[in-house]
Symmetry: C2
Subunit: 308 residues, 2 copies
């Protein structure tokens, strides 16, 4: 029997009845030490408040962390700095949110290029005034992150006659390397951030990155808020120089008094890109497959190495 | 020399300098009869108020009408009922608006399925509340019209893991015939109208069509307003049973006091789907090619037959 720690009863119910699996519900704070000592697998899905260091301390027999997002969230730095020992395997949820995340990036981008926010305001005022908006045709989109999400976004840009340039850590056929990134920004109307949050991507989109974007450029961030320098972006938006589509912010949740809420030329959604009706089925399908592999002694999927 | 009638000075300036072409500016009403008698080609582009019957009366030497939209507008019925004699060739602007029109349909559809109107309202209130919205994944979209616009929309639906069913007048490989349409509506979450306005498509989307759509279904109309029964749609929207994305309305422009403006679950844009920065270049590129063909005695493109 494998004991799995889930953050809430809803998650536990999803796993109830899985053969060979016991579920303990715990999300940090005081817990039943005897029960926690049985835990070998931690489900670090959306909504878990538990920090990696607290988890490692409270779960002495922890062997596997299943993170149900494309990136690793706080587990990345915790792996890198040794907070999480190498004896614990951390797996991400690659594939679970792919289609939904790419879809939200494209929905926000298309809404922006076709002026939906303007027409929305007109609809509120019952005003029929026609404006031309340049669509994706002939636009150049720089997609930072050439994984499943980035390549899906690129396909959508190309479907509507735009051109997509993919950038990843290492160059490969059809993909530029991150070393070339700085030189590519100025030649693109659109920059889409679709990379995991790592030490390398923290504040990747800083004042200099934004300044290199052409006037009227559009920044799309569906990755993590801390990849973008919020203050620098707010400055560009407030000067009406750039547009943005943000599904993630820094801080998050964004406090009601934060000036980003009222920034012009911004479509802001509350970190919902990866959510759509199908994501939970996919997430728990992956979790069950991982548990089956663990019980059978087979290698886990999506294992994260030190070079996350 | 071929004399072309344009509706406004901006259009005339676009054609100025085209070898072998003279331009007369006229958009109905009193005109210089001698100048109008020279006109062989009429540009019936967006914004022309001139009716076919007025044009035919005022332009005795009219040979060719170039309509710069995918459909024929009022020229379709006028051809069918003989108002426009068979000696006049009417050509549509197929291809000019394809990408832009499909793009707007997809932008509105994606905004709807991913809840952008809800998040827009939250953004106005500075409210960070997460909601799941079902994306296009596993949705079934019925695309009425299997021309370039419809097939482009279908490709976008499929890119985000939905399924598209195409319907055209006649069945062909991968396309259902309009005779099957009524039986297909109920099995689809989304209905996209991308057909020209003809006698056959007038009020195609009537109360019965809408009633056959499942609860929560989404109607997208980027074709012509009169294809949809506005009162019947308004009823479905007001009861919160269906969602809609309308780029076209009946009447048009929609008067400020019309109840459709305030209908729930509606994204309404003022007939701008076909407009984007590139459309004028494409439109005048097509017009110049048609004039070249006319001068050279070559067959015109996009000629419309009686069976428009």
């Amino acid at each position: 029997v494998i004991t799995v720690c889930a953050a809430d009863n809803a998650t536990a119910e999803r796993l109830a009845g899985t053969p060979g699996v016991e579920v303990v519900v715990w999300d940090g704070g005081p817990g039943d030490a005897a029960a926690l000592a049985q835990v070998e697998v931690l489900l670090a899905n959306v909504g878990v408040r538990l920090t990696p260091s607290e988890a490692v301390k409270a779960l002495p027999n922890l062997r596997v962390v299943l993170v149900v997002s494309a990136g690793l969230g706080p587990w990345g730095p915790a792996l890198a700095d040794g907070t999480v020992p190498a004896s614990i395997t951390v797996c991400n949820g690659r594939g679970v949110h792919t289609s939904a995340t790419a879809e939200m990036a494209v929905a926000g981008l298309m809404a922006t290029v076709r002026g939906l926010p303007t027409f929305w305001e007109q609809q509120r005022r019952h005003e029929w005034t026609r404006h031309d908006f340049t669509g994706l045709e002939n636009r150049r989109a720089l997609i930072v992150g050439a994984g499943e999400i980035g390549t899906r976004i690129a396909a959508a840009v190309e479907l509507f006659d735009g051109a997509a340039t993919l950038v990843a850590r290492s160059a490969r056929a059809g993909v530029h390397s991150s070393a070339e990134l700085a030189g590519l920004i100025g030649g693109h109307d659109i920059a889409v951030i679709a990379v995991p949050h790592t030490r390398e991507t923290e504040r990747l989109v800083d004042a200099r990155f934004l300044a290199a974007m052409p006037d009227g450029g559009i920044l799309v961030n569906v990755a993590r808020g801390s990849i973008v320098d919020t203050a620098a972006l707010l400055d560009e938006l407030t000067r009406h120089r750039l547009h943005a589509v943000l599904d993630v912010t820094d801080p998050e949740p964004l406090p009601a008094e934060h000036p980003l809420w009222a920034a012009p030329n911004l479509i802001l959604t509350p970190h919902v890109a990866g959510l759509s009706a199908g994501w939970q089925d996919r997430a728990f399908g992956l979790v069950r497959e991982q548990l089956r592999r663990l019980a059978a002694g087979e290698p886990l999927l999506n294992r994260t190495m030190k070079d996350y």
